[in-house]
């Protein structure tokens, strides 16, 4: 299993190099993601700064991975594609991409360059992951999976996919990515000029949400909002290794977390136990959670969003009661295109509360009071009043063959 982390500048790259030199971690196990502000979501590094890191790495020989993870409309994409093509791509072990456009470009123009495909937004099924994998073939280095996948799914994918898989084990959870600049309009005019060059950071709290203190970043790429709790799976590293997850990512870019680097490496390498580094969690500026690692039940509330009893269910559906006048009549709107309502029919009525009533249809009339022997779709017919029946009651023809 590989240890993946970020280096924003030469200082951080040197620190990583020292850990390799001191045999804290093997250079073949370590992987360092680097970027530049133009193409990386949160990086403040300049292109010159990136080139300096690449030059410095000639000595260190650390496996560098170029991050191109922004989403881009066509005009921005063209500029970024041009920038990427000017970079010394041979110096990178791979390129990390989310935008399918960037993926297509790299596949077409740089077929020799390995790709780490970021599939963090959605991509929660084996079929899709497998198709992405097949699409890239030998060029694919790794699939970077969503934080919303549970242990069970990670386990299955690691067994069934031939591709190496990566998951985040420490760091912020991105909730929202907008291309629009949403913070700078709230800032004083004098400081707005700086926004393109560095990240504007803030925290958002809403009284309409039980959660407070969402970290926010705005920069040239737009606005990012993160969860109020960060992801923490450091107590599951052995398990992830046993599941055959190929790489785990430690995102130490925020909140001075880079200071935890050595402890994380020691923990990863098994030199210390999780109990020895509990302060990483306890001293973190925000609560930390396992996210959906144990289970993802974000679809269970859907059944409560609407009343299934007021939905038409089967081929015997006749229509809906649209009005009830107590002791007078009930108005039935015939919605079925295929059934004809006739005298003698037996009807089943299911109210929105779920009560079931039956009605033997002897007489019925149109809305002018004229008696009818039959009625068809779109007609409104008046039925005898029945206690307990209300508007939105669904009406079905009892299938006599079934009785």
């Amino acid at each position: 299993m590989k240890f993946v982390t970020y280096a924003e500048n030469t200082t951080q790259l040197k620190e990583l190099a020292i850990l390799v030199e001191t045999k804290k971690i093997d250079a073949n196990v370590l992987e360092v993601i680097v970027g530049t502000a133009a193409i990386s979501r949160y990086s403040e590094n300049t292109v010159a700064g990136l080139e300096e890191m690449i030059a410095l790495n000639q000595k260190f020989k650390l496996p560098l991975v170029l991050e191109w993870d922004v989403l881009q409309q066509e005009s921005l994409f063209q500029k970024n594609a041009e920038l990427v093509s000017r970079l010394p791509l041979h110096e990178f072990k791979a390129i990390r991409i989310q935008d399918p456009g960037a993926l297509n470009l790299v596949k077409e123009k740089f077929p020799w360059l390995k790709v780490q495909l970021i599939l963090e937004n959605g991509n929660h099924n084996y079929t899709g992951l497998s198709r992405w994998s097949d699409f890239l073939g030998e060029q694919l280095d790794r699939l970077v999976l969503s934080n919303e996948l549970s242990r069970e799914h990670l386990s299955n994918y690691a067994k069934e996919l031939k591709t190496e898989l990566e998951v985040l084990v420490f760091g912020r959870i991105l909730l929202f990515y907008s291309p629009r600049l949403l913070l700078s309009p709230l800032k004083k005019e004098a400081v707005q000029k700086d926004i393109l060059d560095k990240n504007v950071e803030a925290y958002g709290t809403s009284e309409e949400s039980p959660h407070a203190g969402f970290p926010l970043i705005e920069n040239r790429h737009g606005t990012f909002m993160f969860n109020v709790k960060d992801l923490y799976l450091l107590d599951h590293l052995d398990e992830l290794r046993s599941l055959n997850i190929g790489a785990v990512r430690f995102d130490l870019r925020f909140d001075d977390s880079f200071g935890h680097l050595e402890n994380c490496i020691d923990l990863f390498e098994g030199r210390i136990k999780h109990e020895d580094v509990l302060e990483i969690k306890t001293e973190h500026p925000r609560p930390m959670i396992k996210g959906f690692y144990n289970i993802n039940k974000t679809d269970v509330l859907f059944t409560k969003l609407k009343n299934k009893r007021i939905q038409r269910q089967d081929n015997n559906y006749v229509g809906e009661i649209v009005d009830v006048e107590r002791d007078q009549q009930m108005a039935l709107l015939i919605k079925s295109k295929h059934l004809t309502l006739k005298s003698g029919d037996e009807l089943q009525l299911i109210t929105p509360e779920g009560k079931t009533k039956t009605l033997g249809l002897k007489i019925f009339s149109d809305t002018s009071g004229a008696g009818l022997s039959h009625a068809t779709t779109n007609e409104v017919v008046l039925l005898p009043f029945m206690s307990g029946v209300v508007a939105k009651t669904q009406v079905y023809l009892v299938n006599k063959d079934m009785q």
């Binding site: 989403l71 409309q73 066509e74 994409f77 935008d99 399918p100 456009g101 297509n104 959605g122 099924n125 079929t127 899709g128 992951l129 198709r131 699409f135 919303e148 799914h153 909730l175 929202f176 907008s178 291309p179 600049l181 949403l182 913070l183 309009p185 709230l186 004083k188 504007v200 950071e201 803030a202 958002g204 709290t205 809403s206 309409e208 949400s209 926010l216 969860n227 679809d299 509330l301 859907f302 969003l305 609407k306 939905q311 038409r312 269910q313 089967d314 081929n315 649209v322 006048e325 009549q329 709107l333 079925s336 295109k337 809305t367 009071g369 779109n378 007609e379 409104v380 008046l382 508007a391």
Partner: protein
């Protein structure tokens, strides 16, 4: 000579809304079944309703696209083939998809035409080329793309291009917001969006300045009526209206306005119509946030933020939907908001200007006169020449008696 115009694609949150949208001029509608779409709270369509909806639309020359645009998990995919069989049997015109796994399953189990949902955030030429390789024939572009960029994408890929022309907008890149997942336990990309972006937030700029309260993540609504010439000149194939969760009145008004505008262009080759002001006024009579052209012309900026609380303050209110017209006898109206005899009502015909009418009386179905109609009930009003089943009746809010 008839001029070319794009398809007008309206939302159909229910069978009744489908009928309303088609009757008011939509060339195509999009809708969801009970699963696999992004509007779990919407009525959506049962199999029977879907069958009837497709028949209704096809009989009137309108297309039906079915959304399968959730990011499905493995267990969701297991239930998909049966639904695909139904969609094939019903001959729906296309399915709208955002997940490559879903695309793969569709290709494995059917010959359905596949449109890429805006949820996939396709934003550039190369991205469109990739999705073309995956088998999609139409791209619903991300709302962040300008018309000019869309034209380039169309020209360089040969794909059909669909763009949003009207309605609410996500502030985030579509498919790139999971606020509801972590804060409400509802998967926003499987239909559980809780609209947390519409909340008011207190923004703490970290001692730099005082915290400021703002609806900083809420977007104004898109309105593209003034951009129709640009859409047409760019050859955009389909203009989509957002709003499957919205009302019959919304579906009717937006379908009517845009279809009338496009019909005018088809006939005259321009939008130099006295009706342009009327069309814009009509779009202001439906529930909406402040309008913006979003990124249609240039990338959306600060002016596209709707920094205020959501409200239902509307100039007009829907009185009801006509259920039945008995010529020279009465009209049966499903009441949506209370009104009294003497109120000035406006009937929205399927095309052309509204008909003004004063209801001289209101009666129950059993002909008992009532002083005021009750929302949710069905009442009789005197016959109005020109009114048709599914016409929407409205009145100015000053006239309302809620």
């Amino acid at each position: 000579m008839k001029n070319w115009t794009p398809e007008l694609l309206s939302p159909a949150g229910s069978l009744e809304k489908l009928k309303v949208a088609v009757l008011y001029g939509a060339d195509a509608v999009y809708l969801g079944g009970q699963k696999f779409g992004l509007r779990q709270a919407s009525d959506n369509f049962t199999a029977q309703e879907l069958r009837e909806g497709v028949e209704f639309a096809h009989e009137r020359g309108s297309h039906v696209y079915v959304v399968l645009n959730s990011f499905l998990h493995d267990k969701d995919l297991e239930e998909l083939p049966e639904f695909l069989t139904l969609l094939s049997e019903l001959k729906v015109d296309a399915v709208i998809v955002s997940d490559l796994g879903v695309i793969t399953e569709i290709q494995k189990h059917s010959n359905l035409v596949i449109h890429l949902s805006t949820q996939a955030s396709c934003l550039n030429v190369e991205s469109a080329k990739l999705w073309k390789k995956m088998g999609v024939t139409r791209i619903v572009l991300g709302r962040e793309v300008t018309i000019k960029e869309a034209k380039k994408i169309k020209e360089e890929t040969g794909l059909e291009i669909e763009m949003f022309v009207h309605g609410s907008m996500c502030m985030a890149f579509s498919g790139n917001c999971v606020i509801s997942n972590y804060t409400q336990g509802r998967d926003s990309n499987r239909g559980g969006c809780a609209h947390s972006c519409r909340f008011e937030y207190s923004i703490d700029m970290q001692n730099e300045e005082e915290a400021k309260k703002a609806y900083f993540m809420s977007s104004k609504d898109l309105e593209g009526i003034r951009m129709l010439t640009e859409f047409i000149e760019a050859g955009i194939d389909s203009l989509k209206v957002e709003g499957r969760n919205k009302s019959h009145y919304y579906a009717a008004t937006v379908s009517k306005v845009y279809s009338e505008a496009l019909a005018h262009y088809k006939e005259h080759g321009n939008f130099l119509s006295d009706d342009l002001i009327r069309w814009e006024e009509e779009l202001r009579k439906i529930s909406h946030r402040d309008y913006t052209t979003g990124s249609l012309d240039e990338y959306a900026d600060e002016s596209s933020i709707y920094n205020q609380r959501e409200s239902d303050d509307n100039e007009y209110v829907v009185t009801g939907v006509i259920l039945e017209v008995k010529e020279n006898e009465h009209i049966l109206l499903e009441v949506r908001s209370a009104f009294v005899p003497g109120d000035a009502l406006e009937i929205m015909p399927f095309s052309g200007k509204t008909l003004s009418h004063v209801a001289s009386s209101i009666k129950t179905i059993s002909n008992i006169a009532v002083p005021k109609s009750k929302p949710g009930s069905v009442v009789k009003v005197p016959y109005i020449a020109g009114a048709e089943r599914f016409n929407i009746i409205r009145r100015k809010l000053a006239e309302a008696h809620v």
